[in-house]
Symmetry: C2
Subunit: 253 residues, 2 copies
DNA sequence: TAGTTCTGCGTATGGTCTACGCATAAAAGC
DNA sequence: GCTTTTATGCGTAGACCATACGCAGAACTA
């Protein structure tokens, strides 16, 4: 039996193939009124407006003026739709940094770009990740990150680990700040008032003798002053980059 | 009007109060056949056996030989149950490190302990976190982490940031390795065969001219060798600790 | 013994995803 | 131009899910 053209791997979900433009329209049959990008755009619009929990198949279909089951002609399952929503939600990666900038400035720029996206679309953080990146934009972001490390002498595996480390940090930090915003909105208090209230609650619950270190943190008033979330972000990122810098220096010699 | 005893904060969910032992049984009425710890234990048993998606109110009730709605007498909502499941799932924090050990050895121990828990109970990673830690065990882990930094001269806010940084890293790393395991089980391939297959798929999709850095990673064969996930974990953790060490040194002088 | 109060649970509502099958529209081949 | 082929849109229906509400009865106090 002759080898087919694209037989070299496990079958990709149809929607992924269409995201890479590998799917030509079959010559016969009626014109499709819906398209994968159209469906994904509608889903993203719903998520932007009312959050990820509002994204149901029927809601997206209503957004398009179509019937619920019409979507399943183009998309295999809701999980597949979510995957494509993440791809569209991230958008294109940031362009390359200025030529003179080093890897550290480049990665900082890259990390801030991701944080900005996640701050704009917090629903991205609620999509359960089911596997390694496979969609065009996702791999584009990965590529952009890796390129920042081109001039270093890190091993390829180390570059990969570094990128994973940073994107993990960004996602984590974005999750925490989003939780504070969401929590204060749910509780109906000022955003700056949530952490002090939390501190008071914890202080009431814990026994200072059994939780001395935590008690010290609470009485230090850290939670009372609402510091710039940007400072918090920069603090952690700089610690990580410091650690990476030590490795880069070691590999350079 | 006289001040009541525990009026100093917003009302806590009843289940949280009972987790802190703040809830005495009312003297009247029939003996409750169910208890909050019993329900939580049953839910944890279900999650351990069949994953978090199997945890539905009816399934937990069936586990207890009770009716679905019986649970709502003890627990306000499913989210509340999930919160308590996380608390029980984590279990007690690791004990204090040996007196001679420094902060770095202590934090390493602490981080590995959390990783071990998350490796054992991957469903913990799928519980959507809705707020800062408020349950006894969660705060116990936080306390144990903070104590590792007792001998440093970091500011209290910096200690907090450091702990957040590390726990975020551990969660992220555990999520990634759990995804690989889950993905290979779902695809029915050997765990060591998933990443190479992923690499082949990506290599087929991307254009080397547009994704040069990524192409280089793929052709370097990083994904083909299945390295010890422990090495991967240690690599990232050491980078972070290197960065923290630089800060600790700066604050010591 | 009477009264009170809390427990367990049955019923019912409205939501979710999605498997299946039918009528129809559009193109290809003769 | 007519027939055949094929894919499309969508209606119906099933199997789940969380949970609001209200009732019968048990266990305690007085």
């Amino acid at each position: 039996m002759a080898a087919k053209k694209d037989d070299s791997g496990p079958a990709l979900p149809p929607a992924i193939e269409s995201a890479w433009g590998l799917r030509e329209r079959p010559p016969k049959g009626p014109r499709p009124g819906l398209s994968v990008p159209g469906i994904v755009d509608a889903a993203v619009r719903v998520a932007d407006a009312d959050g990820l929990t509002a994204v149901s198949m029927s809601r997206v279909a209503k957004e398009l003026g179509a019937a619920t089951m019409a979507l399943y002609r183009h998309i295999g399952s809701k999980d597949e739709l979510l995957l494509l929503m993440v791809d569209a939600g991230y958008g294109p990666p940031p362009g390359p940094a200025a030529p003179g900038d080093g890897w550290r400035a480049g990665l900082t720029r890259w990390a801030r770009a991701e944080r900005d996206v996640l701050r704009q679309r917090t629903w991205l953080l609620h999509v359960p990740i089911t596997g390694p990146p496979i969609t065009p934009q996702q791999l584009g972001w990965l590529e952009a990150g890796l390129r920042c490390l081109d001039d270093t002498h890190l091993a390829e595996s180390e570059k990969m680990s570094v990128i994973l480390l940073i994107t993990g940090y960004v996602r984590n930090e974005a999750t925490l700040t989003a939780q504070i915003a969401e929590g204060s909105r749910a509780a109906g208090v000022e955003p700056g008032e949530l952490m002090p209230a939390y501190g008071r609650t914890v202080a009431r619950l814990i026994d200072p003798a059994r939780f001395p270190a935590l008690h010290r943190v609470l009485t230090s008033g850290v939670l009372n002053q609402d510091d710039d979330p940007d400072d918090e972000f920069t603090f952690g990122l700089d610690r990580i980059l410091d650690g990476i810098e030590a490795l880069v220096r070691r590999r350079a010699s």
